[in-house]
Symmetry: C2
Subunit: 228 residues, 2 copies
Amino acid sequence: MKGRARSVVLVSGGMDSLVTAALAVREGEAAFLHVSYGQRTETRERRAFRAIADHYRIEKRLEVSFPALKAIGGSALTDPSIPIRTGGIDRASVPASYVPFRNGLLVSFAVSWAEVLHAASVYIGAVEEDSSGYPDCRQAFFDAFGEAVRIGAARGESIRIVTPLIRKSKREIVRLGLDLGAPFSLSWSCYVGEETACGVCDSCRLRLRAFRENGVPDPIPYAPGTEG
Amino acid sequence: MKGRARSVVLVSGGMDSLVTAALAVREGEAAFLHVSYGQRTETRERRAFRAIADHYRIEKRLEVSFPALKAIGGSALTDPSIPIRTGGIDRASVPASYVPFRNGLLVSFAVSWAEVLHAASVYIGAVEEDSSGYPDCRQAFFDAFGEAVRIGAARGESIRIVTPLIRKSKREIVRLGLDLGAPFSLSWSCYVGEETACGVCDSCRLRLRAFRENGVPDPIPYAPGTEG
Protein backbone atom coordinates (compact mmCIF):
# COMPACT_ATOMS: atom_id res chain seq x y z
CA MET A 1 0.00 0.00 0.00
CA LYS A 2 3.03 2.26 0.11
CA GLY A 3 4.57 4.42 -2.58
CA ARG A 4 3.52 7.65 -4.21
CA ALA A 5 0.45 8.58 -6.19
CA ARG A 6 -0.71 11.95 -7.38
CA SER A 7 -4.27 11.51 -6.23
CA VAL A 8 -6.66 9.28 -4.34
CA VAL A 9 -9.98 8.88 -6.17
CA LEU A 10 -13.16 7.72 -4.46
CA VAL A 11 -14.71 5.32 -6.96
CA SER A 12 -18.10 3.93 -6.00
CA GLY A 13 -18.59 2.43 -9.45
CA GLY A 14 -21.38 4.81 -10.44
CA MET A 15 -21.42 7.10 -13.44
CA ASP A 16 -20.26 10.21 -11.58
CA SER A 17 -17.29 8.47 -10.00
CA LEU A 18 -16.39 6.96 -13.36
CA VAL A 19 -16.16 10.38 -15.01
CA THR A 20 -14.27 11.73 -11.98
CA ALA A 21 -11.81 8.84 -12.28
CA ALA A 22 -11.35 9.57 -15.98
CA LEU A 23 -10.44 13.17 -15.11
CA ALA A 24 -8.05 12.19 -12.31
CA VAL A 25 -6.25 9.61 -14.45
CA ARG A 26 -5.61 12.31 -17.05
CA GLU A 27 -3.75 14.36 -14.40
CA GLY A 28 -1.30 11.63 -13.34
CA GLU A 29 -0.97 8.44 -11.38
CA ALA A 30 -4.14 7.80 -9.42
CA ALA A 31 -4.93 5.46 -6.53
CA PHE A 32 -8.52 4.19 -6.54
CA LEU A 33 -10.45 3.75 -3.31
CA HIS A 34 -13.74 1.89 -3.05
CA VAL A 35 -15.79 1.96 0.14
CA SER A 36 -18.73 -0.36 0.70
CA TYR A 37 -20.95 -0.08 3.74
CA GLY A 38 -23.61 -2.73 3.50
CA GLN A 39 -25.64 -0.87 0.89
CA ARG A 40 -28.16 -2.98 -1.06
CA THR A 41 -26.13 -3.16 -4.25
CA GLU A 42 -22.65 -3.41 -2.76
CA THR A 43 -21.66 -6.57 -4.62
CA ARG A 44 -22.60 -5.05 -7.96
CA GLU A 45 -20.86 -1.78 -7.17
CA ARG A 46 -17.67 -3.56 -6.16
CA ARG A 47 -17.75 -5.39 -9.49
CA ALA A 48 -18.08 -2.04 -11.28
CA PHE A 49 -15.16 -0.63 -9.28
CA ARG A 50 -12.90 -3.51 -10.26
CA ALA A 51 -13.85 -3.28 -13.92
CA ILE A 52 -13.19 0.47 -13.98
CA ALA A 53 -9.86 0.08 -12.15
CA ASP A 54 -8.85 -2.66 -14.60
CA HIS A 55 -9.83 -0.46 -17.53
CA TYR A 56 -7.54 2.32 -16.33
CA ARG A 57 -4.81 -0.15 -15.28
CA ILE A 58 -4.73 1.17 -11.74
CA GLU A 59 -2.03 -0.40 -9.63
CA LYS A 60 -2.83 1.16 -6.25
CA ARG A 61 -6.36 0.18 -5.40
CA LEU A 62 -8.03 -0.44 -2.09
CA GLU A 63 -11.43 -1.91 -1.27
CA VAL A 64 -12.62 -1.00 2.19
CA SER A 65 -15.68 -2.13 4.06
CA PHE A 66 -17.43 0.02 6.68
CA PRO A 67 -20.24 -2.31 7.81
CA ALA A 68 -20.73 -0.07 10.84
CA LEU A 69 -22.67 2.35 8.63
CA LYS A 70 -25.25 -0.36 8.04
CA ALA A 71 -25.23 -1.21 11.75
CA ILE A 72 -26.33 2.30 12.71
CA GLY A 73 -28.94 2.42 9.93
CA GLY A 74 -30.92 5.53 9.16
CA SER A 75 -30.86 5.15 5.37
CA ALA A 76 -32.92 3.38 2.73
CA LEU A 77 -29.64 2.36 1.08
CA THR A 78 -28.61 0.21 4.05
CA ASP A 79 -31.90 -0.58 5.81
CA PRO A 80 -34.25 -2.87 3.85
CA SER A 81 -37.21 -1.71 5.94
CA ILE A 82 -36.96 1.85 4.54
CA PRO A 83 -38.26 1.95 0.97
CA ILE A 84 -36.21 3.36 -1.92
CA ARG A 85 -38.23 6.08 -3.62
CA THR A 86 -39.20 5.18 -7.17
CA GLY A 87 -41.94 7.71 -7.88
CA GLY A 88 -39.92 10.55 -9.37
CA ILE A 89 -37.07 12.94 -8.71
CA ASP A 90 -38.86 16.12 -7.61
CA ARG A 91 -38.19 17.00 -4.03
CA ALA A 92 -37.39 19.66 -1.49
CA SER A 93 -36.06 17.63 1.45
CA VAL A 94 -33.25 15.20 2.17
CA PRO A 95 -34.19 11.87 0.52
CA ALA A 96 -34.47 8.56 2.40
CA SER A 97 -31.42 7.28 0.51
CA TYR A 98 -29.21 9.78 2.37
CA VAL A 99 -26.62 7.85 4.42
CA PRO A 100 -25.84 9.91 7.54
CA PHE A 101 -22.68 11.98 6.94
CA ARG A 102 -21.36 9.38 4.52
CA ASN A 103 -19.16 11.76 2.58
CA GLY A 104 -17.55 12.96 5.79
CA LEU A 105 -16.54 9.40 6.50
CA LEU A 106 -15.46 8.65 2.93
CA VAL A 107 -13.36 11.75 2.49
CA SER A 108 -11.78 11.29 5.93
CA PHE A 109 -10.58 7.86 4.97
CA ALA A 110 -9.40 9.02 1.56
CA VAL A 111 -7.39 11.76 3.30
CA SER A 112 -5.83 9.13 5.60
CA TRP A 113 -4.68 7.16 2.57
CA ALA A 114 -3.55 10.30 0.76
CA GLU A 115 -1.34 11.11 3.75
CA VAL A 116 0.35 7.71 3.57
CA LEU A 117 0.74 7.86 -0.23
CA HIS A 118 1.89 11.50 -0.17
CA ALA A 119 -0.86 12.23 -2.67
CA ALA A 120 -1.68 15.87 -3.36
CA SER A 121 -5.41 15.50 -3.90
CA VAL A 122 -8.53 13.55 -3.12
CA TYR A 123 -11.10 13.37 -5.93
CA ILE A 124 -14.76 12.82 -5.23
CA GLY A 125 -17.53 12.85 -7.83
CA ALA A 126 -20.14 14.62 -5.72
CA VAL A 127 -22.77 16.57 -7.66
CA GLU A 128 -24.60 19.48 -6.09
CA GLU A 129 -26.91 20.59 -8.84
CA ASP A 130 -29.48 18.57 -10.72
CA SER A 131 -28.94 15.79 -8.30
CA SER A 132 -29.45 14.20 -5.00
CA GLY A 133 -30.47 16.72 -2.35
CA TYR A 134 -27.80 15.30 -0.01
CA PRO A 135 -26.31 17.93 2.30
CA ASP A 136 -22.87 16.30 2.10
CA CYS A 137 -22.78 16.79 -1.69
CA ARG A 138 -22.56 20.59 -1.53
CA GLN A 139 -19.45 22.54 -2.40
CA ALA A 140 -19.84 24.52 0.83
CA PHE A 141 -19.43 21.24 2.72
CA PHE A 142 -16.27 20.30 0.83
CA ASP A 143 -14.85 23.79 1.36
CA ALA A 144 -15.38 23.50 5.10
CA PHE A 145 -14.10 19.95 5.15
CA GLY A 146 -11.02 20.95 3.20
CA GLU A 147 -10.28 23.56 5.83
CA ALA A 148 -10.55 20.90 8.54
CA VAL A 149 -8.13 18.73 6.57
CA ARG A 150 -5.72 21.62 6.16
CA ILE A 151 -5.59 22.07 9.93
CA GLY A 152 -6.02 18.50 11.15
CA ALA A 153 -3.93 16.30 8.86
CA ALA A 154 -0.15 16.15 9.23
CA ARG A 155 0.25 16.89 5.51
CA GLY A 156 -3.03 18.79 5.37
CA GLU A 157 -1.56 21.89 3.74
CA SER A 158 -0.64 19.74 0.74
CA ILE A 159 -3.93 17.88 0.23
CA ARG A 160 -6.73 19.38 -1.85
CA ILE A 161 -10.24 17.98 -2.06
CA VAL A 162 -11.21 18.10 -5.72
CA THR A 163 -14.86 18.01 -6.77
CA PRO A 164 -14.73 18.37 -10.55
CA LEU A 165 -18.42 17.59 -11.14
CA ILE A 166 -19.96 19.56 -8.31
CA ARG A 167 -21.48 22.31 -10.49
CA LYS A 168 -22.28 20.15 -13.49
CA SER A 169 -25.65 18.84 -14.54
CA LYS A 170 -26.04 15.13 -15.15
CA ARG A 171 -26.34 15.93 -18.84
CA GLU A 172 -22.96 17.66 -18.76
CA ILE A 173 -21.42 14.78 -16.86
CA VAL A 174 -22.47 12.25 -19.48
CA ARG A 175 -21.23 14.61 -22.22
CA LEU A 176 -17.86 14.95 -20.45
CA GLY A 177 -17.58 11.19 -19.98
CA LEU A 178 -18.29 10.59 -23.65
CA ASP A 179 -15.62 13.14 -24.60
CA LEU A 180 -13.13 11.41 -22.28
CA GLY A 181 -13.98 7.95 -23.62
CA ALA A 182 -15.13 6.81 -20.17
CA PRO A 183 -16.43 3.21 -20.23
CA PHE A 184 -20.02 3.80 -19.10
CA SER A 185 -20.84 0.17 -19.76
CA LEU A 186 -18.69 -0.79 -16.76
CA SER A 187 -20.40 1.56 -14.31
CA TRP A 188 -23.46 0.91 -12.15
CA SER A 189 -25.78 3.52 -10.64
CA CYS A 190 -28.98 1.71 -9.63
CA TYR A 191 -29.89 1.72 -5.92
CA VAL A 192 -31.98 -1.46 -6.22
CA GLY A 193 -31.00 -3.94 -8.94
CA GLU A 194 -27.84 -5.93 -9.44
CA GLU A 195 -28.48 -7.74 -12.74
CA THR A 196 -30.62 -5.17 -14.51
CA ALA A 197 -31.00 -1.57 -13.38
CA CYS A 198 -34.53 -0.86 -12.11
CA GLY A 199 -35.01 2.29 -14.18
CA VAL A 200 -37.23 3.99 -11.59
CA CYS A 201 -35.10 4.78 -8.51
CA ASP A 202 -33.79 8.35 -8.32
CA SER A 203 -30.35 7.30 -9.45
CA CYS A 204 -31.65 5.44 -12.53
CA ARG A 205 -34.02 8.27 -13.46
CA LEU A 206 -31.27 10.89 -13.32
CA ARG A 207 -28.91 8.72 -15.32
CA LEU A 208 -31.45 7.78 -17.99
CA ARG A 209 -32.52 11.38 -18.45
CA ALA A 210 -28.90 12.48 -18.82
CA PHE A 211 -28.22 9.97 -21.57
CA ARG A 212 -31.52 10.85 -23.28
CA GLU A 213 -30.58 14.55 -23.23
CA ASN A 214 -27.32 13.65 -24.96
CA GLY A 215 -29.12 11.62 -27.58
CA VAL A 216 -27.15 8.44 -26.84
CA PRO A 217 -28.30 5.15 -25.33
CA ASP A 218 -27.13 4.12 -21.86
CA PRO A 219 -25.14 0.91 -22.45
CA ILE A 220 -26.10 -0.87 -19.21
CA PRO A 221 -29.06 -3.29 -19.03
CA TYR A 222 -32.38 -1.99 -17.69
CA ALA A 223 -35.52 -3.80 -16.56
CA PRO A 224 -37.96 -4.51 -19.39
CA GLY A 225 -40.26 -1.59 -20.09
CA THR A 226 -37.79 1.08 -18.97
CA GLU A 227 -38.07 4.22 -21.06
CA GLY A 228 -34.58 4.94 -22.37
CA MET B 1 -29.32 0.98 17.58
CA LYS B 2 -32.31 3.30 17.36
CA GLY B 3 -33.74 5.61 19.98
CA ARG B 4 -32.61 8.90 21.46
CA ALA B 5 -29.52 9.81 23.39
CA ARG B 6 -28.27 13.19 24.42
CA SER B 7 -24.73 12.58 23.26
CA VAL B 8 -22.40 10.18 21.48
CA VAL B 9 -19.10 9.78 23.32
CA LEU B 10 -15.96 8.42 21.67
CA VAL B 11 -14.49 6.11 24.30
CA SER B 12 -11.15 4.57 23.41
CA GLY B 13 -10.70 3.22 26.91
CA GLY B 14 -7.83 5.56 27.78
CA MET B 15 -7.71 7.98 30.67
CA ASP B 16 -8.78 11.04 28.68
CA SER B 17 -11.80 9.31 27.17
CA LEU B 18 -12.75 8.00 30.61
CA VAL B 19 -12.87 11.51 32.09
CA THR B 20 -14.72 12.76 29.00
CA ALA B 21 -17.26 9.97 29.44
CA ALA B 22 -17.69 10.90 33.10
CA LEU B 23 -18.49 14.49 32.05
CA ALA B 24 -20.92 13.43 29.30
CA VAL B 25 -22.79 11.03 31.56
CA ARG B 26 -23.34 13.86 34.02
CA GLU B 27 -25.13 15.83 31.28
CA GLY B 28 -27.68 13.16 30.37
CA GLU B 29 -28.10 9.87 28.56
CA ALA B 30 -24.96 9.04 26.62
CA ALA B 31 -24.26 6.54 23.85
CA PHE B 32 -20.72 5.14 23.93
CA LEU B 33 -18.78 4.49 20.72
CA HIS B 34 -15.57 2.52 20.57
CA VAL B 35 -13.52 2.37 17.39
CA SER B 36 -10.67 -0.07 16.91
CA TYR B 37 -8.44 -0.04 13.85
CA GLY B 38 -5.85 -2.74 14.25
CA GLN B 39 -3.76 -0.80 16.75
CA ARG B 40 -1.33 -2.89 18.82
CA THR B 41 -3.36 -2.87 22.02
CA GLU B 42 -6.85 -3.07 20.53
CA THR B 43 -7.94 -6.10 22.56
CA ARG B 44 -6.93 -4.44 25.82
CA GLU B 45 -8.57 -1.15 24.85
CA ARG B 46 -11.83 -2.90 23.93
CA ARG B 47 -11.79 -4.54 27.35
CA ALA B 48 -11.34 -1.14 28.97
CA PHE B 49 -14.22 0.26 26.89
CA ARG B 50 -16.57 -2.49 28.04
CA ALA B 51 -15.61 -2.11 31.67
CA ILE B 52 -16.15 1.67 31.53
CA ALA B 53 -19.49 1.29 29.73
CA ASP B 54 -20.58 -1.29 32.31
CA HIS B 55 -19.51 1.01 35.13
CA TYR B 56 -21.73 3.80 33.79
CA ARG B 57 -24.54 1.37 32.88
CA ILE B 58 -24.58 2.52 29.28
CA GLU B 59 -27.34 0.94 27.24
CA LYS B 60 -26.48 2.31 23.79
CA ARG B 61 -22.99 1.16 22.99
CA LEU B 62 -21.34 0.33 19.71
CA GLU B 63 -17.99 -1.26 18.96
CA VAL B 64 -16.77 -0.55 15.46
CA SER B 65 -13.76 -1.89 13.64
CA PHE B 66 -11.94 0.02 10.86
CA PRO B 67 -9.17 -2.43 9.96
CA ALA B 68 -8.63 -0.38 6.80
CA LEU B 69 -6.62 2.10 8.88
CA LYS B 70 -4.15 -0.66 9.61
CA ALA B 71 -4.18 -1.71 5.96
CA ILE B 72 -2.95 1.70 4.82
CA GLY B 73 -0.32 1.87 7.58
CA GLY B 74 1.71 4.99 8.19
CA SER B 75 1.63 4.81 11.99
CA ALA B 76 3.63 3.12 14.72
CA LEU B 77 0.33 2.28 16.41
CA THR B 78 -0.77 0.01 13.56
CA ASP B 79 2.49 -0.97 11.84
CA PRO B 80 4.75 -3.24 13.92
CA SER B 81 7.75 -2.27 11.76
CA ILE B 82 7.60 1.36 12.99
CA PRO B 83 8.92 1.61 16.57
CA ILE B 84 6.92 3.23 19.37
CA ARG B 85 9.03 5.98 20.91
CA THR B 86 9.99 5.22 24.52
CA GLY B 87 12.82 7.68 25.12
CA GLY B 88 10.92 10.67 26.43
CA ILE B 89 8.14 13.12 25.67
CA ASP B 90 10.03 16.17 24.43
CA ARG B 91 9.38 16.88 20.78
CA ALA B 92 8.64 19.43 18.11
CA SER B 93 7.24 17.30 15.27
CA VAL B 94 4.34 14.91 14.70
CA PRO B 95 5.17 11.64 16.51
CA ALA B 96 5.33 8.24 14.81
CA SER B 97 2.26 7.15 16.75
CA TYR B 98 0.11 9.62 14.76
CA VAL B 99 -2.52 7.67 12.81
CA PRO B 100 -3.25 9.60 9.60
CA PHE B 101 -6.34 11.80 10.09
CA ARG B 102 -7.73 9.35 12.61
CA ASN B 103 -9.87 11.89 14.44
CA GLY B 104 -11.45 12.97 11.16
CA LEU B 105 -12.60 9.41 10.66
CA LEU B 106 -13.67 8.89 14.27
CA VAL B 107 -15.65 12.09 14.53
CA SER B 108 -17.26 11.48 11.13
CA PHE B 109 -18.55 8.16 12.28
CA ALA B 110 -19.70 9.54 15.62
CA VAL B 111 -21.62 12.24 13.72
CA SER B 112 -23.26 9.55 11.56
CA TRP B 113 -24.46 7.77 14.67
CA ALA B 114 -25.50 11.05 16.33
CA GLU B 115 -27.69 11.76 13.30
CA VAL B 116 -29.46 8.43 13.65
CA LEU B 117 -29.85 8.78 17.43
CA HIS B 118 -30.89 12.45 17.20
CA ALA B 119 -28.13 13.22 19.66
CA ALA B 120 -27.19 16.85 20.17
CA SER B 121 -23.48 16.40 20.72
CA VAL B 122 -20.40 14.32 20.03
CA TYR B 123 -17.85 14.20 22.86
CA ILE B 124 -14.20 13.49 22.19
CA GLY B 125 -11.43 13.57 24.78
CA ALA B 126 -8.77 15.15 22.59
CA VAL B 127 -6.08 17.10 24.43
CA GLU B 128 -4.16 19.87 22.71
CA GLU B 129 -1.83 21.07 25.43
CA ASP B 130 0.71 19.08 27.39
CA SER B 131 0.06 16.16 25.14
CA SER B 132 0.48 14.38 21.91
CA GLY B 133 1.59 16.73 19.16
CA TYR B 134 -1.11 15.29 16.89
CA PRO B 135 -2.52 17.84 14.45
CA ASP B 136 -6.01 16.34 14.71
CA CYS B 137 -6.09 17.01 18.46
CA ARG B 138 -6.18 20.79 18.11
CA GLN B 139 -9.24 22.89 18.89
CA ALA B 140 -8.79 24.69 15.57
CA PHE B 141 -9.29 21.34 13.84
CA PHE B 142 -12.48 20.60 15.77
CA ASP B 143 -13.78 24.11 15.07
CA ALA B 144 -13.26 23.61 11.33
CA PHE B 145 -14.66 20.11 11.45
CA GLY B 146 -17.70 21.31 13.36
CA GLU B 147 -18.36 23.82 10.59
CA ALA B 148 -18.19 20.99 8.01
CA VAL B 149 -20.67 19.00 10.10
CA ARG B 150 -22.99 21.98 10.37
CA ILE B 151 -23.11 22.25 6.58
CA GLY B 152 -22.79 18.62 5.54
CA ALA B 153 -24.94 16.61 7.93
CA ALA B 154 -28.72 16.54 7.59
CA ARG B 155 -29.10 17.49 11.26
CA GLY B 156 -25.77 19.28 11.30
CA GLU B 157 -27.12 22.50 12.77
CA SER B 158 -28.11 20.54 15.86
CA ILE B 159 -24.88 18.61 16.48
CA ARG B 160 -22.03 20.12 18.48
CA ILE B 161 -18.57 18.62 18.75
CA VAL B 162 -17.59 18.90 22.41
CA THR B 163 -13.93 18.74 23.47
CA PRO B 164 -14.05 19.30 27.23
CA LEU B 165 -10.39 18.44 27.87
CA ILE B 166 -8.79 20.20 24.94
CA ARG B 167 -7.17 23.01 26.97
CA LYS B 168 -6.43 20.98 30.07
CA SER B 169 -3.11 19.61 31.21
CA LYS B 170 -2.84 15.92 32.00
CA ARG B 171 -2.50 16.91 35.63
CA GLU B 172 -5.82 18.75 35.48
CA ILE B 173 -7.47 15.81 33.71
CA VAL B 174 -6.49 13.40 36.46
CA ARG B 175 -7.65 15.92 39.08
CA LEU B 176 -11.01 16.29 37.30
CA GLY B 177 -11.40 12.51 37.00
CA LEU B 178 -10.70 12.09 40.72
CA ASP B 179 -13.29 14.75 41.54
CA LEU B 180 -15.84 12.99 39.32
CA GLY B 181 -15.09 9.58 40.80
CA ALA B 182 -14.00 8.24 37.40
CA PRO B 183 -12.81 4.60 37.67
CA PHE B 184 -9.22 5.03 36.49
CA SER B 185 -8.50 1.40 37.36
CA LEU B 186 -10.70 0.36 34.40
CA SER B 187 -8.90 2.56 31.84
CA TRP B 188 -5.90 1.70 29.69
CA SER B 189 -3.49 4.13 28.05
CA CYS B 190 -0.34 2.18 27.14
CA TYR B 191 0.55 1.97 23.43
CA VAL B 192 2.55 -1.24 23.90
CA GLY B 193 1.50 -3.56 26.72
CA GLU B 194 -1.74 -5.42 27.33
CA GLU B 195 -1.13 -7.07 30.72
CA THR B 196 1.09 -4.51 32.36
CA ALA B 197 1.57 -0.97 31.03
CA CYS B 198 5.13 -0.43 29.74
CA GLY B 199 5.71 2.81 31.64
CA VAL B 200 7.99 4.29 28.97
CA CYS B 201 5.87 4.99 25.86
CA ASP B 202 4.68 8.61 25.51
CA SER B 203 1.21 7.72 26.68
CA CYS B 204 2.45 5.97 29.84
CA ARG B 205 4.91 8.76 30.65
CA LEU B 206 2.25 11.46 30.38
CA ARG B 207 -0.17 9.46 32.50
CA LEU B 208 2.34 8.58 35.20
CA ARG B 209 3.53 12.16 35.48
CA ALA B 210 -0.06 13.39 35.81
CA PHE B 211 -0.80 11.04 38.68
CA ARG B 212 2.50 11.90 40.34
CA GLU B 213 1.69 15.61 40.12
CA ASN B 214 -1.60 14.90 41.87
CA GLY B 215 0.13 12.94 44.60
CA VAL B 216 -1.92 9.81 44.03
CA PRO B 217 -0.88 6.41 42.68
CA ASP B 218 -2.10 5.27 39.24
CA PRO B 219 -4.19 2.15 40.00
CA ILE B 220 -3.29 0.18 36.84
CA PRO B 221 -0.40 -2.33 36.80
CA TYR B 222 2.95 -1.21 35.36
CA ALA B 223 6.01 -3.18 34.34
CA PRO B 224 8.45 -3.83 37.21
CA GLY B 225 10.88 -0.98 37.74
CA THR B 226 8.48 1.72 36.50
CA GLU B 227 8.83 4.96 38.46
CA GLY B 228 5.35 5.85 39.67
